[in-house]
Symmetry: C2
Subunit: 179 residues, 2 copies
């Protein structure tokens, strides 16, 4: 395989926020030529697919960057240094009230590798107990249990368009079609 | 349905780069309380799934933000105001030399809605002719034609982990299993 590696000369932070930090690095291309690379630093996310009696738990939530309400599997960002599985259990509980048992890691998703370093850990919960939801003060959301066949149709119609949700639902569907 | 909308009070640009711009907006939550929202502005991307004789065209490329070489379907960002289908044809040609015919839009993917406004238009090419690749000066990549069954295994092993590539390959697999 060819040498593709790029080498960092200098990390330059241009923004440090609550969710993301942004760098514009000085780097070297594989052929030694200088370049700049824009990087969004993110602590990573954790998400949970939970299906019960043929229905999938989805969260309906306004997403500011798009100005749209999206339907997504429960998810949230990792606290600094947090174990992804612990974050998945925490976020599921905060958003839906469900206390997950037996989480299986299905994917470590790289959502859009051109500029972010975010990794989204997608788990599947085999079982969960009901509890009380307790979302963050700046989170406004509704939980819905949507029949799988309807959710699959909502993928076809574009009503479900969030990356982690598409990956999780299509994977579930594949595993329940193929032997 | 409840009112989830958040209202922008002021857009504050904190970084303007070549690929992305970043804002930290002052906004109002649905209950009228003030909040800040971090947004990565991106012009959008276009990607192409192309399968020929049971093999999928994938691009192997170093991704600076992760410091890793990833395997992805051919893709790139839209030029300002560019039609996504035209961008898909252009990027496929630049990266692989393939001249696509009969592109079908399969997804408008929202890769990670917590902070970016990027939309990735995923097309499938029914046919393509061979031409000469001509990547950008700062793109170093290899094109590989990987048998579908191997690509599906690479999803299971985590060797393929890019969001748009997972969504496109899972969808292809589903459409060729179910009637």
């Amino acid at each position: 395989m060819k040498n593709f590696g790029e080498r960092t000369l200098k990390k330059n932070y241009v923004f440090t926020g609550k969710i993301i930090s942004v760098r514009r690095d000085d780097a070297l291309l594989p052929d030694g030529k200088p370049c700049t690379r824009e990087v969004v630093e993110h602590p990573g996310g954790a998400a949970v697919l939970y299906v019960r009696e043929g229905k999938v738990a989805l969260v309906r939530q306004f997403r500011y960057a798009y100005g749209e309400v999206l339907l997504e599997i429960p998810a949230g960002k990792l606290e600094r240094g947090e174990d992804p599985k612990r974050a998945a259990i925490r976020e599921l509980s905060e958003e839906t009230g469900l206390i997950a048992e037996d989480l299986t890691l299905r994917f470590i998703l790289y959502p859009t590798p051109g500029y972010t370093d975010e990794k989204i850990y997608i788990y599947e919960a085999e079982a969960a107990e009901e509890g009380a939801a307790h979302a963050d003060a700046d989170e406004f959301l509704d939980v819905e249990y949507i029949p799988l066949e309807k959710a699959y149709r909502m993928i076809d119609t574009g009503e479900i368009r969030d990356g982690k949700t598409l990956v999780a639902l299509q994977s579930y569907r594949l595993r329940h079609i193929t032997p």
